[in-house]
Structure formats: structure tokens, C-alpha cells
């Protein structure tokens, strides 16, 4: 198991020693373990830091070390809990690519990934379960999940910051909607899942009647986030 956003690891040990120690708890022969560690350190771009004490590593480097810890035992099933949380773009990309190739390149390997990043789930997963408040609302391939709401229409709007959203939830034809505020720009970003395009005019007039300006309106193909909104009835908190 590997969790993101943690400081796990013994700071007085080097990155290499830390990973080796965990491999011993899983019974990996020491020589095999050291070979795998070196290989994985090259892949994850941590080779230069192999002899650095863990306390000296950055968050991204530490997370890479944790990922190597997860893979060094060559597990059949690996649990990844938000593995790219708080990482820079490059480090996150390296991790996503490796995990995807590892699980697809070998038979009998399974990764159970929990993530709030829908794009990450879309890119990496063969099957996705949408869970809300401990209940599985849907479990299928990304394509099938998106197909479920393809009969619906997704609209994204960027408007002046809007406070009164109650009208939208009762509006006929609106299946679900979510909103995010950008306080710095004084803007609101609304995503509507509509049964058809009928309510668009009413949505626009509701906004303009509040004296707010519509900056952009976009009809888009459904994403996994739209699927989530459609099922859960809200965006990510």
C-alpha cells in the first residue's frame, strides 16, 4: 500500500535503506531487493538521491521513494491511496505512467487506486467505482460510465460571482449542477447536467436577471467528473 501526502519513512535512513528494509519484511531476498531498488530508482528519477537521508528529500522525492517501496516487493495487488497528492506535474506524470505500464504490461497484476482526480482515474483505470458516503454508486469502465450520461447534455458556464443558486436546483430539465467560485476573479463556474438543451435559455435568463454577466458558455462531452456530478449531485468538496 502506498498513500500520498504523507511523511512516512525513517529520516535517519537513506532512501535506499528505507526501501530495502521494507522489502525484508516481505521476504524479498536481499540481493534481489537491491537490484530492484536500483532499477526502480533509475525509472523514478531518484538514483541521484539513493544515498540521501530520507529527511533531506523533498515531498515529491519522498513520494517517489514510497512508490518504489510499494513496487519493490512485486506485489500482485497494490493499493494506491491518492498517490499523486500534492506532487508537481512532472513527478505526478512519472508515477502515473509507471503504474499504468506496470499493471498493463504484466498478467495478474491489480492496482486499486483511490483518487479525487478524475482525469487520473480516466487515464489509469480499467474500471472505476464511484463511491459517495461509503456507497458504490456505479462501477464500470470509464467509457461505459461516460456513456451513461451521454444522453444528457453538459454545459459549462463562466459568470460573474453568483450567490443565489437555489433556482437552478428546482429548474425543470436540470438533472444536476455544481459550482465553483474564484473569489480572486469574482467569477463562478457552473456545470449543468441537463436532460436536453431546453433549459439553457432559462438558465441564462436567470443569471442575467440577477444582473450577472455570462462570460462563456460551452457545451462539452461528458467527463468522469460530470458522471460523478450526475450521480452524486455535487462536485468534489
Amino acid at each position: 500500500m502506498v498513500s500520498g501526502g504523507e511523511t512516512s519513512g525513517y529520516g535517519l535512513l537513506t532512501a535506499r535503506e528505507n526501501i530495502w528494509m521494507f522489502s525484508q519484511f516481505y521476504g524479498v531476498p536481499s540481493k534481489v531487493s537491491k537490484g530492484r531498488i536500483d532499477e526502480l530508482m533509475h525509472i523514478f528519477g531518484l538514483w541521484d538521491k539513493r544515498n540521501a537521508k530520507v529527511r533531506m528529500l523533498s515531498t515529491g522525492q519522498r513520494q517517489k521513494m514510497n512508490m518504489i517501496r510499494g513496487f519493490v516487493t512485486d506485489p500482485d495487488i497494490l493499493f494506491l491511496d491518492e498517490p499523486t497528492l500534492g506532487l508537481d506535474v512532472n513527478a505526478a506524470r512519472v508515477i502515473r505512467e509507471y503504474v499504468t505500464n506496470w499493471v498493463r504490461g504484466q498478467k495478474g497484476k491489480t492496482v486499486l487506486l483511490t483518487t479525487h482526480y478524475m482525469a487520473e482515474a480516466d487515464q489509469m483505470c480499467d474500471r472505476i467505482a464511484i463511491i459517495d458516503k461509503g456507497k458504490i454508486l456505479a462501477c464500470d469502465t470509464p467509457e461505459n460510465l461516460k456513456r451513461m450520461i451521454r444522453t444528457e447534455t453538459t454545459f459549462r458556464l463562466e459568470v460573474d460571482a453568483i450567490r443565489d443558486l437555489t433556482t437552478f436546483s428546482t429548474m425543470q430539465g436540470v438533472k444536476n449542477f455544481s459550482h465553483k467560485d474564484d473569489i480572486a476573479k469574482n467569477r463562478s463556474f457552473l456545470t449543468f447536467i441537463l436532460e436536453d438543451e431546453g433549459p439553457v435559455a432559462e438558465i441564462l435568463s436567470t443569471i442575467t436577471l440577477q444582473g450577472k454577466k455570462v462570460h462563456s458558455l460551452q457545451k462539452s462531452e461528458p467527463t468522469l467528473e460530470d458522471v460523478f456530478i450526475s450521480m452524486v449531485g455535487r462536485g468534489f468538496e
Binding site: 500500500m1 504523507e6 512516512s8 529520516g11 535517519l12 521494507f22 525484508q24 519484511f25 516481505y26 521476504g27
Partner: protein, 284 residues
């Protein structure tokens, strides 16, 4: 190689790295020598105060008694706290407990392995303290060759009891917040008073002597003094028992304490698992 042995070995290695790897090797060796010697000077100061208050003429037997007791008390403080804090440090500080706990090992054996390095550090400290006392402070030490096996057996049993008590506290710490490390400092304090470390049990009131006799460490200190400092004539309440009988007391109480430690550890672990507290982090 059995899983238990591999776990013990790796955990002992980890413990040793954590104890010794914080500085350069030469500085660590220097620290390991100076620390117990400095501790010996505290004993000298305590003795001077006792003498000034009670016996201006001095009492070399009394000094040897407290010196040997305090030297071996290093084991108590180091091993007990070292064992106790394995769970706390892995859970709160390093946040590694969930990864170690879910690995296919016995966590109980892992704790024993981590504690082994504490024992190694303590053995060195005790040896330095005794050596310093014998060479510079007039502590009369003499271990007869014939007594070596009994000394080794009693030392192993004494350490086993300490590990058992440490693991008991560890089992409790599964369920408690990190500031409860005071528990691992307070318990040795009780042993210091009731187990004949600094003064013999005969000084304590009857109820205090009863508490002391219920704790295996009392027998450990008694037999250790008899074996390595046989010239000490301080009256203890255990004078009527020969060394073999005291060793028997130690064996019986050690087995009892070890069984108790497994029980308390398992109960603590069970409730921690049930409440989802194995990897909790706390703050205060």
C-alpha cells in the same frame, strides 16, 4: 530463514541505525562512554548528600549497593522506554506503522527486534558504569567464574521481564495519545522506589515491601548484587533465600509477566484494530 528471525533481524538493524546513525561513529562512541560516566557522577553526588545527612563517616557498602543497583537500572530505563516508544514513534513521528503492520510479519517480534538495539546500547552503558565504579570509585566487584552461568541466566530473565513490561505498555499505547509517553517514564520511577535499586526493601513499610516482592525486578537486582558484588552486607528482606531460590522466583515471575504482556498487547491491539486506531496520529 524463518519469518520471525528475519523480522527480528531487520527490526534490530533498524533500531540500531536509529540509535547510532544520528551522528558520526566516533562521536557516537564518545557519547556512549561519556553518558554513563556522567550518570555515575550523579550517583556520587547522591551518595555525598546521603552521607552528609546521615552518616558523616561514610558507608562503602551502602555506596556499592546503590551504585550496582543504579548501574543495572540503566537497563530498566533504556529497555522499558525503548520498547514502549516503538509503537508511538512509528505511529506518530515516522508514520510508518501502517506499512509495517500490514506487512506479513509478527509486529510483536518486530517490537522485540527494535528493543534489541536498546539492550545493546544499555549493555555497553552498564558495563562502562560498572567499570568506572570499580576503577575510580572503590566499588568492590567480583564475579566468580562459577557464578557466570547464573549471572547470564538472571540477566537474560531480567531483560525478558523488562521487554515484557515494555510490551505491556506498548499494548496500552495502541489506544492512547502520544503524550502518554509519561507512562514509560513513571513506571520505571515506581520500580526505582520499590525494587531495591537505591535502598534495600527493608527500609520500606510493609505494604511497600509487598509491592516490591510482587515485581520480578526486585529479585533480579538482588541476585545480580549477590553475584557481582558479594561483599555487600546491606540487609535486604530477601537474605533468607539462597540464590537458586531467588532465581526460581525470577523465572516464575518472568514467565507470568511474559504471558501478561502477550495478553495485554493482544487486547490493546484488538481494540485498536476495532476502533481503527492502529495508525492514528494525535496531537495535544
Amino acid at each position: 530463514m524463518s519469518t520471525y528471525w528475519r523480522t527480528f533481524k531487520t527490526a534490530a538493524w533498524l533500531g540500531w541505525e536509529m540509535d547510532s546513525n544520528w551522528t558520526e561513529p566516533w562521536l557516537f562512541v564518545l557519547y556512549s562512554v561519556i553518558k554513563p560516566v556522567a550518570g555515575a557522577f550523579i550517583l556520587v553526588l547522591m551518595y555525598i548528600v546521603f552521607v552528609a545527612i546521615g552518616r558523616p563517616q561514610g558507608d562503602t557498602d551502602a555506596f556499592s549497593y546503590m551504585y550496582v543497583g543504579n548501574s543495572f537500572f540503566i537497563f530498566v530505563a533504556t529497555v522499558l522506554f525503548g520498547t514502549f516508544q516503538v509503537i508511538q514513534s512509528d505511529r506518530e513521528w515516522y508514520q510508518t506503522i501502517r506499512y509495517i503492520y500490514i506487512s506479513p510479519i509478527s509486529y510483536y517480534v518486530y517490537i522485540l527486534g527494535r528493543a534489541a538495539s536498546k539492550i545493546a546500547v544499555a549493555v555497553f552503558a552498564v558495563a562502562i558504569t560498572l567499570l568506572f565504579g570499580a576503577m575510580f570509585l572503590g566499588v568492590r566487584l567480583h564475579l566468580a567464574l562459577a557464578d557466570v552461568p547464573m549471572f547470564l541466566v538472571s540477566t537474560v530473565l531480567g531483560l525478558a521481564v523488562l521487554l515484557a513490561i515494555g510490551i505491556c505498555l506498548g499494548g496500552i499505547s495502541f489506544l492512547t495519545a502520544k503524550h502518554t509517553h509519561g507512562l514509560a517514564e513513571g513506571i520505571p520511577g515506581l520500580f526505582y522506589v520499590f525494587c531495591g535499586v537505591l535502598f534495600p526493601l527493608s527500609i520500606l513499610p510493609t505494604w511497600g515491601q509487598a509491592i516490591g516482592r510482587a515485581i520480578p525486578l526486585t529479585y533480579w537486582f538482588e541476585i545480580t548484587r549477590r553475584l557481582i558484588a558479594p561483599t555487600i552486607t546491606v540487609n535486604t528482606t530477601l537474605a533468607g533465600f539462597d540464590p537458586l531460590t531467588i532465581l526460581l522466583f525470577l523465572i516464575v515471575s518472568s514467565v507470568g509477566f511474559f504471558a501478561l504482556s502477550v495478553l495485554i498487547y493482544k487486547v490493546g491491539e484488538y481494540f485498536a484494530r476495532k476502533a481503527g486506531k492502529i495508525d492514528m496520529t494525535t496531537s495535544y
